[in-house]
């Protein structure tokens, strides 16, 4: 990894360096704006670590290759943006079903389709949660700064190894292309998590039998465990099965693995929420404007606060419910889309507070002033809630 110290670094570069610090030695990708700098950095840096950079023929291949590499025992990553992320949905599902640790970086740009390649948006938030078919439990980190591109990429690797699943780092064009101060800590100060290995000898091992944390230990290919890995519904031996009971047991566990460990995985940041009448919910690049908006609003006498999900999935649902129950009247979700997380916030308030939206279609982030204007209008009862 890089020498410890303070650097002036672009978000995408910090992401690549985070991956290297986490022990990533395999990267497969297909160039796309605004994620290409991650590929380029990996390609440049990897010879030093005997890592493998593969430029694949498309994103279907990129994600599938990292799943293969993960089973070969490597820490593996890919990076893309919306159009490529759409192609990845198929094998994101394979990774979730086969419990394959790896990291997928999606740098959001304007959509739908080819959309607005060089500019920011946050339209893929729900795709990370619901984009692949079937029921899944997912973990998605949303960085708001180059420093977090570094830190959360490491965390994404750790979580992927600990809970055995592909973890998404959901950046956006603004954060990825922003250059800022990044502190690279000493190697010994970085926590690195490795996948659990089976304790039993191969002949006793049930490769998909979970421990108490609902995560099965993982034997890599070549370690003598002759593991069978399939995207079909499978039992604890890893063998395909078409009975309802096996389906029920497996899918429930895959979802519970995240749900029941949410306390360990969930991360969010709060700012001045204690006495807040109105809480702005914002993530990624918008968080930066929202924080300033809250400060301006406070100066104007509005009791404003801020809640920033750092893991957007799992979502801080209990916390929002608590805040709504304990005095916050209004939630304002500022996001660069036509309303995605706003539905989650509305659901979590349980009707105990009003939920409003400050939407944007992409191309730029909100200005702090525009968020403040929205807060003022809400306080004065001038705008209907987001559905009207």
């Amino acid at each position: 990894m890089m020498k410890p110290g303070t650097y002036f670094m672009e978000g995408n570069t910090a992401c690549a360096e985070g991956a290297i610090a986490a022990g990533c030695t395999f990267f497969a990708g297909y160039p796309i704006t605004p994620a290409s700098e991650i590929l380029e950095r990996m390609a440049k840096r990897f010879p030093e670590f005997h890592g493998s950079y593969l430029q694949m023929e498309d994103e279907l291949a990129s994600i599938t290759a990292i799943l293969g590499a993960s089973w070969a025992g490597r820490k593996a990553m890919t990076a893309t943006s919306g159009p490529g992320f759409s192609l990845m949905m198929e094998n994101y599902g394979l990774g979730l079903m086969t419990e394959t640790p790896c990291v997928i970086v999606n740098v959001m740009r304007g959509g739908p389709s080819t959309g607005l390649p060089t500019k920011v948006a946050q339209g893929d938030v729900n795709q990370t949660r619901w984009g692949t078919h079937g029921d899944v439990g997912v973990v998605v980190y949303v960085p708001s700064s180059p420093q977090e591109m570094f830190d959360l990429t490491i965390k994404a690797f750790n979580t992927s190894e600990k809970y055995r699943l592909p973890v998404v780092v959901l950046s956006d064009e603004m954060v990825s292309h922003m250059t800022e101060k990044v502190d690279i800590p000493k190697k010994e100060d970085i926590e690195i998590v490795e996948r659990k290995k089976p304790e039993e000898p191969p002949e006793r091992s049930l490769p998909f039998c979970p421990d108490e944390d609902l995560v099965p230990p993982m034997a890599n290919a070549g370690e003598g465990y002759s593991v069978h890995v399939t995207g079909l519904t499978h039992d604890e031996k890893g063998h395909p099965s078409i009975d309802e009971e096996t389906q029920n047991k497996l899918v429930t566990r895959l979802i519970d693995k995240i749900r029941k460990n949410a306390d360990d995985i969930l991360e969010y940041e709060e700012y001045m929420v204690q006495d807040a009448d109105i809480i702005v919910v914002a993530y990624g690049s918008v968080y930066r404007a929202a924080r300033e908006a809250v400060e301006i609003a406070r100066d104007k006498g509005i009791k404003a606060g801020l809640l920033r999900p750092i893991t957007i999935w799992p979502f801080p649902e209990d916390r929002i419910y608590d805040l709504a129950k304990n005095g916050t009247d209004n939630f304002l979700v500022a996001e660069i889309n036509f309303g995605q997380i706003v539905f989650e916030v509305e659901r979590c308030t349980g009707g105990a507070a009003n939920t409003y939206l400050a939407p944007r279609m992409g191309g730029n982030i909100h200005t702090p002033e525009e968020i403040v204007d929205r807060m003022e209008a809400i306080e004065e009862g001038k705008i209907p809630d987001f559905k009207e």
Binding site: L67, R74, E200, A221, H239
Partner: protein
């Protein structure tokens, strides 16, 4: 800890057998490669897949490659079910994606003797792009394509290999698309080893598989295979046996034939079949070439 207890499903008897695997199985010399508890397989009577799998296992055995160092990757389809029967590290991935998975696996751990075992639809329709690129890169693994001229698993629909005149469930009035000549595609994309056999040519097939297993680089073997259920019965080859007879009577071995000139006649489902080893050449693999460039890079960077 309570969950772990469910591992006790193993009877002591079974445990003993597993621990003395080679001798305890003992029923068949290839048993050590099979997941005994997964047999019987799902394949139809008369299907060519059993013969082809048997040939592959014999090639492994003849080459002294143990289950431990073997990895098999399959896509989706009847052929794709192969991985699930093998007591090796085996991966049954999504439809068409066996090759990129194997690419990651092999480059992730070059010690694994890696084989992709999949169907014609899987490898050349949905997975076609991956095939040509893996061949171009000359990644070091083998691809065994079982070509049964149709999508067997989903009920006998037309595939990119189906002869024009053949009737399938999605070409009820007859086909009209030009099929692929698979050896031509493989050779044109850069495969260092290209052969075609039929399920009838057991000895030749084993020999080719052994050669591929022992060769570095991207090796491709097409095996034409009876699919009485999905394809044969619609083209007058009602049983596996009839198809085998057709293979026997109509195949011509032409080792070294130009792979671009071995296309099957698309207008005649009972045409002559040219089989043989068409390409066997030396070329640096993906890892050889990358190794050289990376060594230079490390020199320049002053690291080991």
């Amino acid at each position: 800890m309570s969950i772990r207890k469910s591992r006790d499903w193993f009877s002591p008897d079974y445990m003993e057998q597993r621990s003395k695997k080679e001798s305890a199985y003992g029923l068949h010399p290839l048993d050590c490669y099979l997941r005994k508890d997964r047999i019987p397989h799902i394949w139809c009577p008369g299907c060519g897949l059993g013969v082809i799998l048997n040939s592959y296992l014999r090639a492994l055995k003849n080459s002294d490659i143990s289950p431990k160092e073997t990895a098999v990757v399959s896509g989706i389809g009847c052929t794709g079910r192969t991985a699930g029967y093998l007591d090796v590290d085996s991966f049954h991935v999504t439809h068409g994606r066996a090759i990129p998975f194997a690419t990651g696996l092999k480059i992730g751990n070059r010690e694994l003797v890696t084989t992709v075992f999949s169907g014609d639809g899987d490898l050349f329709a949905i997975g076609g792009n991956h095939f040509i690129h893996a061949a171009r890169r000359n990644v070091d693994f083998n691809v065994i394509c079982v070509n049964n001229f149709n999508y067997g698993m989903t009920g006998g629909q037309a595939a990119p290999t189906t002869p024009k005149k053949a009737q399938t469930s999605t070409t009820p009035w007859g086909g009209f698309e030009q099929p692929f000549n698979l050896p031509g595609v493989a050779a044109g994309s850069g495969a260092v080893y290209v052969a075609r056999w039929t399920a009838y040519h057991v000895e030749k097939m084993i020999e080719s598989m052994e050669e591929a297993l022992n060769k570095k680089g991207f090796c491709f073997i097409e095996v034409l295979s009876p699919c009485p259920t999905g394809y044969g019965r619609k083209v007058g080859l009602k049983t596996g046996m009839e198809t085998m007879k057709y293979y026997k009577e109509n195949s011509k071995i032409k080792d070294g034939a130009d792979p671009t000139k071995v296309a099957l006649d698309p207008d005649d489902p009972e045409c002559e079949i040219i089989v043989g080893k068409f390409v066997d050449k030396e070329a640096p693999t993906y890892q050889d070439e990358r190794g050289e460039i990376f060594d230079q890079a490390r020199n320049e960077l002053g690291v080991k």
